[in-house]
């Protein structure tokens, strides 16, 4: 590779103007050459020093660039360090170290699952049976999941993509769900030490029950299967008691209703609505009669458990009724999906969905691929109809058929090339009633 081109890639990286293709190229270059890695590190040092110089320049705009280390800078740095120490001290009071007791174990897992233990400078891939201290579990891809069992047999199913932190200290168990889906079966907790489940928009206090939580950065949906859960909406501190077969949605913007309501009878038809049902992707609101669209988000996939592959760029849009609807959406034998979307060009597209048991946790993930041909005169619009029979289960441990299970979420995805995938809607039709 020519120095000039590599330098250009570095500049684009450090100036945050790099494209997906260029990032993949830079990654490949750096992986294959130590010389280029040394050059890249030099660019990072230059970027660091330029930032430092900019800080000085800003204060003395129009005059000389400061030299380092100046006394003023040194004093500033000492002040910053003192502040850091203060922060560290405060944090250490609230999060004392030495908590290395094993609190749970991995009962089952699949796919890209990574564990980062608190207070240890290690991270690693998990195996079934691994004992866990407090820490963070990252379940990266749509076909990944993990089952965590606490010492009191309370069980947490984590379905990817999700980021969840667990701890079990003097105040009881705490589960922090940054995003994703959890299915919890909680054993009776000691008096005064309830389990707390915290998301960006809600906090649930649990004494012993079975419930599902689905969290995004702006909204949390919680449905209770057994027992009672107390849910606080963090936006305004209001509280709801959610009983069995009821659910509640807590959004960050507190104008939306926050009221526990019965889940109601199951339904067999559903159509995605934005922004309510967005699970992953970048929502673009339509103007002047144009529909809203969910633009696929780009992310890197680095292989499932045990694999080590070159990173693959994925572009995913995900919608799901669990994000905002209380009525479970059941899949019947004759159910079919209609997906309407947009592609810049004809391309291979992956479609898939996840299902829940009727009163509980994850039951399966299913997917299929289709080559989508877009016609020149349709401005990239496509429409695909798929029956349940078109989908295959992703792992043998999942239920063989999704029939009779609840629809959790539906994804549309392309691999490697960004071909402008957007989803207008996903619709479920079920022409025949489900026999009870």
């Amino acid at each position: 590779m020519k120095d000039e081109h590599f330098g250009d890639l570095c500049n684009r990286y450090f100036l945050s103007t790099i494209s997906a293709e260029e990032m993949a190229e830079l990654d490949c270059c750096l992986k294959g050459s130590q010389d280029l890695r040394v050059k890249f590190a030099a660019e990072a040092r230059l970027d660091t020093n330029l930032r430092d110089a900019a800080s000085s320049f800003e204060k003395k705009e129009g005059s000389e660039i400061s030299t380092v280390p100046s006394r003023r800078k040194w004093q500033w740095a000492m002040g910053a360090a003192a502040a850091l120490v203060l922060i560290a001290l405060v944090v250490s009071l609230f999060y004392p170290e030495g908590k290395t007791e094993r609190i749970a174990r991995i009962a089952d897992l699949n796919g890209a699952v990574t564990w980062i233990a608190d207070g240890e400078q290690t991270e690693g891939r998990l195996k079934v049976g691994n004992e866990l201290t407090g820490g963070t579990l990252e379940v990266s891809s749509l076909d990944s999941w993990a089952e965590i069992v606490f010492r009191d047999s309370s069980t947490v199913w984590v379905s990817g993509p999700a980021v969840v932190t667990i701890s079990d200290g003097g105040a009881g168990k705490m589960i922090r769900l940054r995003e994703g889906d959890l299915f919890l079966d909680v054993s009776p907790q000691p008096e005064g030490k309830p389990m707390r489940v915290i998301t960006p928009s809600a906090e649930a206090v649990v004494l012993g029950t079975q419930f599902n939580v689905s969290a995004s950065s702006s909204s949390t949906s919680l449905t209770v299967n057994e027992g009672t859960v107390q849910v606080t909406r963090l936006a305004d501190g209001s509280v709801q008691e959610v009983e069995a077969d009821h659910g509640v949605v807590a959004a960050l913007e507190h104008e939306s209703p926050f009221q526990a309501s019965p889940r109601g009878d199951s339904v067999r038809i559903w159509k995605s609505e934005y922004p309510r049902d967005v699970r992953q992707g970048s929502l673009r609101f339509g103007a002047e009669g144009h529909p809203d669209v969910l633009r696929a988000e780009t992310h890197l996939f680095r292989g499932d458990y045990g694999e080590k592959i070159d990173p693959i760029l994925l572009h995913s849009a995900v919608v799901g009724p669990a994000a905002g609807k209380m009525q479970p959406v059941l899949l019947s034998k004759e159910a079919r999906f209609l997906i309407q979307g947009h592609l810049d060009q004809s391309f291979q597209v992956s479609f898939g969905f996840g299902t829940h048991h009727a009163r509980g946790g994850l039951s399966g993930k299913f997917s299929t691929d289709r080559k989508i041909e877009v016609e020149p005169d349709t401005d990239g619009y496509f429409e695909v109809e798929l029956t349940l029979a078109d989908f295959r289960r992703l792992r043998s441990r999942f239920v063989e058929s999704p029939v009779g299970h609840e629809l959790g979420w539906f994804w549309v995805q392309t691999t490697k090339k960004d071909v402008g995938l957007s989803v207008y809607s996903v619709e479920l039709f079920s022409p025949e009633p489900i026999s009870k």
Partner: protein
């Protein structure tokens, strides 16, 4: 709190903070992430200070903590933005020498000298991305130029500065 311990930590952290920052910049795609991770890592360092056997071991020890935190942060943002692969980031971390503080100090001094060789206008341009987001777009509007052309110029100026810093280090040999 042990005052001696506090003072020792502050001294070591301040002395090596530019190196830790540069190390993190090698691993992470944005300055926002670098700042967040360094702050989180400093808390861990403080909590784990008893593990540090002597001051000479501070940088390698701190880099282990910083690297761990950086990998964690990378995974968190990987779905939303473009990042290098974990394997590549791991290689970049491995290739970094144990201690680099002196080199960074000399390069910073050389950069000052090289910046003085640029016109004030170009000096402003090359430092602009670190001062305020959106400043480049505003400049493009004000001067009737495309943002893309400004980025191209910026790229050339950075390359010029990089070569100048190399040359300064050779000719002055790190003399301070």
């Amino acid at each position: 709190m042990n005052k001696e311990k506090e003072a020792g930590f502050m001294r070591m952290f301040v002395a090596h903070e530019p190196e830790l920052r540069a190390f993190l910049r090698t691993l992470l795609p944005s300055w926002e992430l670098v700042d967040d991770v360094l702050q989180e890592a400093s808390v861990v360092m403080w909590n784990k200070l008893d593990q540090l056997e002597n001051e000479e071991g501070f940088v390698p020890w701190a880099k282990v903590i910083v690297r761990f935190k950086a990998m964690h942060a990378l995974r968190s943002v990987a779905r939303d933005r473009l990042v290098l692969s974990e394997e590549t980031v791991g290689l970049l971390a491995e290739d970094t020498p144990d201690s680099n503080s002196e080199r960074i100090h000399f390069e910073r001094r050389a950069l000052d000298s090289c910046l003085q060789k640029l016109s004030l206008e170009n000096r402003r341009l090359v430092l602009m991305p670190y001062q305020r987001s959106g400043a480049l777009s505003e400049l493009a509007q004000r001067t009737n130029r495309s943002v893309n052309s400004l980025y191209k110029l910026l790229g050339r100026l950075r390359e010029k500065l990089r070569l100048c810093v190399e040359q300064e280090l050779i000719t002055k040999g790190g003399e301070s």
